[in-house]
């Protein structure tokens, strides 16, 4: 069984194509997680986020994560897309997903993808508040 992997670091995430990217004739289930910019964090008003990436390494780590998911679950397709640059409220910043024959595998894999991405992929988020900017130095 060959698993297809689609990994990207982009200016803007194309959420409209997510089904086309993950649908597969042997998949009955597709699970997608999209992270987006919230208007506040710990009760402070957020104006925007800015993502810096170590792109070469980030792509490599995202591929390692995709392949690790493929060894843990029987998946047909996996995507990991992350943005770089400044993003405003409600804009998508990360989109991960997996497709599989049954839904257990795609749900578990999708959760693994986002959890592991947040721990391991060299991407840094700066929060813009009204009067200051802060590098988030702990994944939430």
């Amino acid at each position: 069984m060959i698993m297809e992997i689609d990994i990207q670091i982009v200016n803007n995430i194309d959420t409209t194509s997510v089904y086309q990217r993950l649908s597969h004739c042997k998949s009955g289930g597709i699970c997608v997680f999209i992270g987006s910019v919230r208007d506040s964090t710990q009760n402070e008003k957020v104006e925007a986020l800015d993502f810096e990436t170590y792109e070469k390494m980030a792509l490599k780590e995202m591929e390692i994560i995709a392949k690790e998911a493929g060894t843990k679950w029987k998946l047909n397709k996996v995507i990991l897309h992350h943005v770089h640059g400044r993003k405003e409220i409600e804009e998508p910043v990360v989109m991960v997903g997996a497709s599989s024959a049954h839904r257990d595998a795609c749900f578990e894999a999708c959760r693994f993808l986002i959890d592991t991405l947040k721990i391991r992929v060299p991407i840094w988020k700066k929060e813009f508040f009204t009067n200051k900017t802060v590098w988030v130095t702990e994944h939430p």
């Binding site: 992270g35 993502f51 810096e52 990436t53 170590y54 070469k56 390494m57 980030a58 490599k60 992350h82 910043v93 990360v94 986002i114 991405l117 947040k118 721990i119 391991r120 992929v121 060299p122 991407i123 840094w124 988020k125 700066k126 590098w135 988030v136 130095t137 702990e138 994944h139 939430p140």
Partner: protein, 80 residues
């Protein structure tokens, strides 16, 4: 020996890459580099963790460094 800096590491050191001149006593391992950095820039000690990537892979403290390696300081990541 050139070291890439990202996120808060860039702000602490004040530049996007660091050049260790041959004249300086260059670190031989990842562990030595970590010590050197956090002695020279004590603010790194306030971070919850600090990792070093060698040729875009996370490296262990015992990993040996060569001047041709692509070395990067990886402060706590916060993607997603």
């Amino acid at each position: 020996m050139k070291i890439l800096l990202f996120g808060i590491a860039k702000d602490i050191i004040g530049t996007s890459s660091l050049l260790l001149k041959e004249a300086e006593k260059n670190p031989k391992t990842v562990g030595e580099l970590k010590k050197l950095i956090s002695n020279k820039y004590p603010k790194f000690k306030t971070l919850s963790s600090i990792a070093i990537a060698v040729n875009s892979c996370y490296a262990e403290d015992k990993t040996k460094l060569q001047s041709s390696d692509e070395i990067a300081i990886i402060p706590p990541v916060s993607g997603g």
